[in-house]
């Protein structure tokens, strides 16, 4: 008995090693390419983080990718105070935290209505909304300035939030409309028979079902809004209303020689968006996929 068992197990083990050795060369090539691309992308971040933690002297005497000999947190404190980051950070938080959820809510409601309710000219309305995705907002900066100015909203939160909403809603409607359209019709019909109104169906059935897509859109919109520069530059002219990217630009002009503080300011500017992205990136991928190929 034992003599027959031993060779059998040896054969199984051999087979296992054999299959492990047979790697797909295309896959290996792909992995190497991805690692190289990742290095190219990560290198500037490493440079920024390392530099933000070095003294001015260290910056000048050590290599760009040399880790700081002593960690110099003072750069962050100084940059925060000298660049008035408390003001720009507060403005960015207010604008982003109002615009992102509000935009998503409006987009979800519009997408539900266009995908699931019988609306006269519904398809035309959808087309008009989707037309918004085709216009680069840089082209519209001058007209937007004129409109916002004529409403007296320059240097106000509504003045920047409303244009952000106008340019954010179309692509969100586009993605959510695609997602809602493939949710089985029977689900909303069953809810209607159960006595649910459209608002209830939207709130109780569709919103919970679309959490991955909403999470993905939330990240995308958060990062875009947080980092937006051009429109903020046009509409927010008073330094007291500036957002982080504007503050950073001004800081760069004033302290371009103090690389430590400058990079500390850059880290503080991009860190919130990066944290949000890293926390939700799993939903981001699955959400976009489910919107694209579900059904």
């Amino acid at each position: 008995m034992s003599t027959t068992t031993a060779p059998a197990s040896a054969t199984v083990a051999d087979a296992g090693y054999g299959s492990a050795r047979r790697r797909d060369p295309v896959l290996i090539g792909l992995w190497i390419s991805l690692v190289l691309v990742a290095v190219v992308w990560i290198a500037p971040f490493v440079f920024i983080v390392f530099t933000s933690l070095k003294t001015t002297g260290d910056v000048m005497t050590t290599g760009a990718f040399t880790p700081p000999a002593t960690v110099h947190y003072q750069n962050y404190e100084n940059a925060w105070a000298r660049g008035d980051f408390s003001t720009t950070f507060t403005n960015s938080v207010i604008i982003t935290f109002i615009k992102v959820p509000l935009g998503l809510f409006i987009s979800a409601m519009a997408a539900y209505a266009l995908a699931r309710m019988r609306i006269i000219w519904g398809k035309l309305i959808l087309l008009i909304i989707l037309f918004g995705t085709m216009i680069p907002f840089q082209v519209m900066l001058a007209p937007i300035f004129t409109v916002v100015n004529s409403f007296g909203l320059i240097d106000t939160y509504p003045g920047i939030i409303l244009p952000y909403l106008a340019f954010g809603v179309p692509y969100q409607v586009f993605i959510l409309h695609g997602f809602f359209s493939v949710i089985p019709r029977e689900l909303s019909e069953a809810a209607r028979i159960d006595g649910a109104s459209d608002i209830t169906i939207f709130r109780r059935i569709f919103l919970p079902a679309s959490i991955p897509v909403l999470a993905a859109l939330l990240i995308l919109d958060f990062v875009n809004t947080w980092n937006e520069f051009a429109m903020a530059l046009v509409i927010l002219q008073d330094a007291g209303m500036w957002t982080l990217p504007l503050g950073l630009m001004s800081f760069q002009g004033q302290f371009s020689n103090d690389y430590g503080q400058l990079n500390a300011a850059i880290v503080m500017t991009v860190l919130p968006a990066t944290i949000v992205y890293l926390i939700f990136q799993r939903y981001f991928v699955s959400g976009l996929m489910s919107g694209a190929v579900k059904g």
């Binding site: 029977e186 019909e189 069953a190 809810a191 209607r192 028979i193 159960d194 006595g195 649910a196």
Partner: protein, 356 residues
């Protein structure tokens, strides 16, 4: 519970008419099955009863109320869908209690009703699970539970067993039928499966191209189909249809186009010289070494309990179901005879049953 009256209902999608003046009376507590091939309008009719499709013209009454203009929720109906339509993020209990929750029923009462329905359907241990954690059969039971909890006047089923495997379908068939008898709720059930229709219904409505072909009990439809379509649709394998002329040559015979002459029992409705479509069910064709006529075997399908034989008499195809075990092969000939008194005669032009 309530009766349902469908009066001359019509429906079009754009210029395409799908229901052409359908009228059916469904008694209180009756189990009625709408059956027909794909595209016959059966699901559209059910959806009109549910209020999910508008009614082109005509009236639908549930009990004493005309429901044409009522919202689905106000019609006091419950519907079970083919793909279950369970709310994915709600547990089984929440799915079943959703309608009552929307009605503002107190939680204790909802729990009691959900538990009662769960007990009837054997779902008690699954109440906290999500739909994705259930098998197909369990999901279908939850969908039924959701309907039961509402205690509606009418149950509507839209091909509820189509997504289940064959074995489970048979089990669920019996389960739905016994549940309906137990609750006594008027039920309208749509299927394209004539076996489901035959085994479950009190009354079958056969539809084709938006028109009712026949209404009757399963055995009425089986024994006295109103036309060629119903005769072919009800029963499996389908009824054999042979076009020929009646002759009276030493007893009634059906003479086929190929010249083959088959002895039959002539009915009162036909006379010698008449051209007819003669229908006979596969189980009414038997082996008869003494008087049978030669048929050449094309295909033999043994199912265990019986043997299905596809054969040719002249150039006409016939299917017969033989209860006895026979050892025959393709290409051989066997003597077949048509059982007396089981033939059906139809007019060749209209397909309508000839009076007997």
């Amino acid at each position: 519970m309530a009766s349902v009256e469908i009066e001359n209902v019509r429906k079009s999608f754009g210029t395409v008419g799908v229901i052409h003046g359908v009228s059916v009376h469904i008694d209180d507590g009756e189990f009625v099955i709408l059956v027909g091939p794909s595209g016959c309008g059966k699901s559209t009719l059910l959806r009109m009863i549910a209020g999910l499709e508008s009614i082109g013209s005509g009236l639908i009454r549930i009990g004493d109320r005309v429901v044409n203009q009522l919202e689905p929720k106000d019609r006091d109906i419950a519907m079970v869908f083919q793909n279950y339509a369970l709310y994915p993020q709600m547990t089984v209990a929440q799915n079943m209690g959703f309608a009552l929750e929307l009605k503002g029923v107190k939680k204790a009462e909802i729990d009691a009703k959900v538990n009662e329905a769960a007990e009837i359907l054997g779902l008690t241990s699954l109440l906290k699970r999500l739909p994705k954690q259930l098998s197909g059969g369990q999901r279908q039971r939850v969908a039924m539970g959701r309907a039961i909890v509402r205690d509606p006047q009418v149950f509507l089923f839209d091909e509820p067993l189509s997504n289940l495997d064959a074995k489970l379908r048979v089990a669920m068939r019996a389960e739905i039928k016994s549940l309906q008898k137990r609750l006594g709720t008027t039920t309208i059930y749509v299927t394209h499966d004539q076996i489901e229709a035959m085994t479950m219904a009190d009354k079958i409505v056969v539809l084709k191209d938006g028109v009712i072909e026949q209404v009757g009990s399963p055995l009425e439809l089986y024994d006295r189909p109103a036309n060629v379509f119903v005769a072919g649709f009800i029963g499996s394998p389908s009824m054999n249809m042979l076009s020929g002329t009646i002759e009276n040559d030493g007893g009634a015979r059906l003479v086929l186009g190929s010249g083959a002459s088959i002895p039959i029992a002539k009915d009162g409705g036909v006379k010698p010289g008449d051209k007819v479509v003669f229908g006979i069910r596969p189980e009414h064709i038997e082996l008869d070494p003494d008087n049978g006529i030669e048929a050449r075997i094309e295909v033999v399908e043994p199912t265990g309990a019986e043997t299905h034989v596809l054969a040719k008499i002249g150039d006409a195809d016939v299917t017969c179901v033989l209860r006895e075990r026979i050892t025959v092969r393709e290409g051989e000939t066997i003597p077949l005879a048509f059982a007396r008194g089981h033939g059906h005669f139809f007019a060749p032009e209209t397909g309508a049953r000839l009076a007997d």
